[in-house]
Amino acid sequence: MTISHHPSDETLLRFAAGRLPSGPAFVVATHVSGCAACRDRVAAFETVGGALLEEMPPTPLAPEALARVLAAIDGPPRPRPGERRRPEPPLLPDGHALPAPLLVCNLGPWRWFGAGIRVSRVTIPGDPAARLNLLRVGANRKLPEHGHAGLELTQVLSGSFSDRLGHYRPGDLAEVDSAVDHQPVADPDGECICLAALEGEMRLGGLLGRLLQPLIRF
């Protein structure tokens, strides 16, 4: 699989720093899990985090801190709540396996989102308000033209789509920032399944979009 579209360095840095909101962070994790080049980049940025930690001036801890920690490491490990993988993870509608980072998430039902388009809400454990969605776009179907209040990240899982900025195939991540209005169109050869997250509100354009806007919290 040749990957030609990657997250920007800024996005990878925010991801490595643990500073992306969880919706976009899961999209980037999905991309990174399939992209060796971005894994290297994230590893390099994590090294920046390590270097920053090294250069921090020390702040004294509470006097009993070491004693408390030494006592704690003798005890049994605290069980980590939640985030357990389900025994039989659901498959994508095309029969493909769900990307590994999504295995801890809950997938909502496929809901109608305009002609030939369905959306499944992905719920991230511990962050129910995060906006993360799986999209199924039929061949040649267009998403409503839209702009963004913030970053939009879309990872192609299967099929392909195009917009005026490029052509995106499985493994590609489309990163679009707030300055851009675009209208993604699924390619004619079949359905396109994507994972998408927004950092801010989506602004739908066109008549259809204006009609849909109040109905949909994308």
């Binding site: 800024e10 643990g18 390590g50």
Partner: protein, 191 residues
């Protein structure tokens, strides 16, 4: 990166070795040395990340407890001790924010995934990468280094950073791009 006033700072190799000894021999003395070096730096790091003092103290301690428990998964061929410990603290911070129901930062923990076995050269490569990153950070201009730090200590997107620095949004965007481009070139070994 700055020299300590009292004792000389342990080198990367010493810190890595301490962590390996903690994993292999469950050596509490080695752990106490790691604690002495990292816990106060973790606390500062977490404070600068915007956490209140009590939480920073608690998460610095929790990070060190995880260091003890997870020491066997530390692999010096993949990342140095400080990078590995940074990733643990990052994960605990995100976890904490979720528990607080503040949907800010999140995401899966990358470093905890078991990857393919490291090659013989990997150790050198990891060490070289760390050296290169530290070199790169020193070579950035003050402003560029500040921008990189802001990315770690600040959840804010460009628009808010712009407001903070009193600069137009376009200027901040292009400066971030320049800073990261420079960092990327340095990391890739270009000059």
């Amino acid at each position: 990166m700055t020299a300590s006033p009292a004792a000389p700072l342990p080198t990367r190799e010493e810190l890595d070795r301490l962590l390996v000894v903690v994993a292999a021999q469950r050596d509490r003395q080695a752990f106490a040395l790691l604690f002495k070096h990292f816990a106060p730096r973790l606390k500062t790091f977490l404070l600068r990340s915007g956490l209140p003092a009590g939480v920073a103290e608690e998460l610095a301690q929790e990070t060190m407890i995880s260091v003890w428990r997870k020491a066997s998964s530390f692999d010096p061929t993949r990342a140095g001790a400080s990078t590995w410990i940074f990733a643990i603290a990052r994960h605990l911070r995100v976890d904490h924010l979720r528990r607080e129901r503040l949907p800010r930062a999140g995401g899966p923990d990358m470093l905890e995934e078991e990857d393919d076995a490291p090659s013989g050269e990997a150790l050198l490569l990891a060490a070289e990468r760390e050296a290169r990153v530290k070199g790169a950070l020193r070579t950035l201009s003050d402003e560029q280094a500040a921008i990189v730090r802001l990315s770690f200590f600040n959840d804010k997107a460009h628009s808010e950073i712009a407001r903070e620095l009193g600069l137009p949004l376009g200027t901040v965007k292009s400066r971030v791009r320049l800073a990261l481009g420079r960092l990327r070139a340095l990391l890739d070994g270009e000059t």
